[in-house]
Amino acid sequence: MRKDLVFGMAGSGGDGIVSAGDSLLQAAAAEGYHGVMTKSFGSQIRGGESSCRVRISTEPILNPGGNLDVAVALNWEDFLKFGAELPVSGTTVVIYEAATGIPENQIPLVGVTPLQVIAVPIAAMAKETAGTERAKNTVVLGLIAGWFGIGAVAVMKGIRKKLAKKGEELVEANQRAFDAGRAFAMEHPLKASMNVVASETKGQVKLITDGNDMCAAAAIFAGCQFFGGYPITPSTEIMQFFTDHVWKYGGSVLQAEDEIAGIGAAVGASFAGKKSMTATSGPGLSLKSEMMGLASIAELPLVIVDVQRGGPSTGLPTKTEQSDLFAACFSAHGDVIRPVLAPTSVADMFRITIEAFNIAEHYQTPVIVLSDQEIAARKETLDPIDTTQFKIINRLVPAGADLQDYKRFKQTDNHISPISHPGMIGGTYLASGIEHVESGAPTNSGSVHARMNDKRTKKFEPLKDRKDLFEVTGNPNAPIAMVAWGSIAGVCREALAMAQAEGLDVKLLVPYLLYPVAEGVYNDFFASVQKGLVIEQTHLAQTFKLLRMHIDLPKGLKPLARSGANPFLPSEIVAALKTLVSELQRSHEGNLQPQE
């Protein structure tokens, strides 16, 4: 019996791979399991190849998992296109379409001998039972139910619901396809049992959503009433969610003519007194940078979500990366600090998005939520969230005495000035991208500019003391450390648990606040550290360099960085940690030698 199973499936567009993954995830949730699903496509619109990976566990899941336990290939050509996303190992059970004509001992996995390989006439079974090959995905679900003990009841319940509108005939056809899959599994038992332990929380309510929908829902919860944006993969679903829901709350959404207009409208809405947001991906972030600078100097609250994909330029639109970090921190000219926050999971996205609005409102600043394709598109099962625990912060509005001779950019002790908005009597002022004196009047005085730069950057000092925007796990005095953020943090959390189980003295720092760099937090964390890794999905080791720019890092701290779509595996990180441990031991032994 297993507590955790990772399924990977691939086929051609139209094979219903993603739909099957969805059904499996929903069934798992109904049966009380935790689950995560990621999907991956070629970059074509229709057809081509598509894949999904579903991880199911009795424990909360921190990442989509490493090597597959179960691989389903509806055709090999498509499956092999996802080599990095769907890694097969010696412990994987491989199920594939018999009609490919490839014998079980000749499957095209070079250098890998899976635990077991089973050819199943999936298309033929679909045709025979449902009258159409389109039911192949239902046959696959039947196979999974039979072999792994997941979804025997819940899958068909979900399918029934989904297809109810299309008629009983289709539902019955799918039931037959499902039953055939299950029966096949029963007749061809696996070498070793891979059934999943029954969950103890069966029947409890679980939420299922992805990072983009979660982000938009959190924004509306935080009081966002305006979204301006432009469609761009993989952020578009955020705008879609707004177009479905924000009207209900008296807000509105503008699908603008371009990225610049999208953020421009959001800047305008914020100036008008409403919480507002835009979302984009790398190329769009580049276009928005002038407006981000404007919002910084005009001290207007604004949340910008950047769902990272591979860059530069159009790069890898459908694959994840963390390489927009520099752009998020530094794009737009001049001296400016723009807080950058990063969620590590779909569940986190709720808290981090609310936090982004709170920081934007409190500090009167644009804030970037640095999501990534994996979090944005991956579906997670979540336990219900108690929304009443979240505090919502609104901007400081002038009142009474403030409005006598109102000065919009008044110097105050904490560098935050009350902010009026059109409609407010006594609060009229000129907002501008041009440097201004306290009243808002334009100036080209160098000394005023220096003072205002001081105001606009010093106001963020308290943000760096926000310990709740950092998570330290493992032994706080460990000599070996990891730093990771975003979706990679989940992989590192799992690597930490594995390393600890093997007796390694390791700790992990996950920053939710990436910028401004909180020197104090890192200095405390690094105090005990002799060796460590900054683990990130970039080519240039951007995170490592950002930290090195601000902090005297321990000599033994190194980047573990790579770009592209290939996610790190927890096992790979553990191996790297072990190398550090042995290096450390050697250097200690070296130190014990008598000095000559």
Binding site: A29, A30, V205, L207, I208, T209, D213, A217, F221, Q225, F226, G228, H245, W247, G250, G251, S252, L254, A256, E257, I260, A261, G262, I263, G264, A265, A266, V267, G268, A269, S270, F271, A272, G273, K274, S276, M291, L294, A298, F350, L382, P384, T387, T388, H421, P422, G423, M424, I425, G427, T428, Y429, L430, A431, S432, G433, I434, G440, A441, P442
Partner: protein, 293 residues
């Protein structure tokens, strides 16, 4: 006008303490006077007005009013104005800028504002030159014009701002000139009162880099009011016909005013908000949307 019919506001109530940086004799001095007069005539208090601009000489104009002003970035006044209008439809939203701001760098936005028909008034101070950067070619400069970026004469046809907005279907299109302050104020007032997107092109002389023909004397020589021509502003095709004379004639007044203004974007947004508000989950339950039953 108040309910009793008396004017509550005077033009001076809209004049700020900031001293304009424009060159002495610049047409924009006259434009801002026209705007003060128009705003007083409309009678909305300054704090209910949001006045947005981009970058350039003319884009300084919001600062010279007592309204809430936003002197933003080059070419982007219209997206910002739309965000303001959507966030608070009760505001009177004005946008202003120059020909470069509106028809070069920001040229992509105007078509979309027209499509959306938001109730925003857009005033372009068209001097056919880039003044603040010291005299380069503008999108409305005449072909063949010699400037510091076209020393051998411009090779491009100018944009025709009037035809441009008429072609996209603007509901209100007018032209004014500082040579006629009273007419300009009346035109701007009419534009503000029009329920939907309204565009006013103002030939505003650049005294420093402008050509002689575009100075007050030259403008007077080519001015003709549309009223004197017997033009019917409800006739869109006639308006387009007249608009073809941009650059040779200075037609003043309303080229086109849609006699049956369609609902504005704001009206449609409000309709949708009302229609859908009954489906709103309480915010603290918004995550219920993710429960798969």
């Amino acid at each position: 006008m108040s309910a009793t019919g008396t004017c509550e506001y005077q033009p001076k109530d809209y004049k700020s303490d900031l001293k304009p940086i424009w060159c002495p004799g610049c047409g924009d001095f006259s434009v801002v006077q026209g705007i003060y007069r128009a705003l007083a005539a409309v009678g909305r208090p300054p704090h209910e007005i949001a006045f947005v601009s981009g970058i350039g000489c003319s884009s300084r104009i919001p600062g010279y009013t007592t309204a809430y002003g936003f002197n933003s970035v080059h070419g982007r006044s219209l997206p910002i104005a739309q965000g303001i209008k959507l966030a608070n439809p009760d505001l009177l939203v004005l946008a202003a800028g120059g020909d470069g701001d509106g028809f070069s760098i920001g040229g992509g936005h105007i078509a979309h504002l027209i499509r959306r028909n938001m109730d925003i008034t857009y005033i372009v101070m068209d001097n056919q030159i880039y003044g603040l950067t010291k005299g380069q070619l503008s999108p409305t400069s005449q072909k063949g014009r010699v400037t510091c970026t076209s020393r051998f004469g411009s090779l491009e046809e100018p944009v025709n701002p009037l035809l441009y907005v008429l072609a996209y279907g603007a509901g209100f299109v007018a032209q004014a000139s500082p040579t006629d302050l009273v007419g300009m104020a009346a035109t701007i007032e009419e534009a503000i009162r029009y329920p939907g997107f309204a565009f006013v092109n103002i030939q505003s002389p650049c005294v420093t880099y402008g050509e002689e023909a575009q100075q007050i004397k030259g403008l007077k020589a080519i001015s003709e009011t549309l009223a004197s021509l017997g033009h019917n502003p409800a006739d869109r095709l006639a308006a387009m016909d007249l608009a073809q004379h941009y650059g040779e004639k200075l037609h003043l007044g309303v080229f086109y005013r849609n006699p049956e203004p369609p609902p504005t974007y704001g009206d449609l947004v409000k309709e949708r908000q009302v229609l859908l508000s009954k489906d709103a989950l309480p915010k603290e339950r918004i995550l219920d949307l993710f429960i798969k039953k």
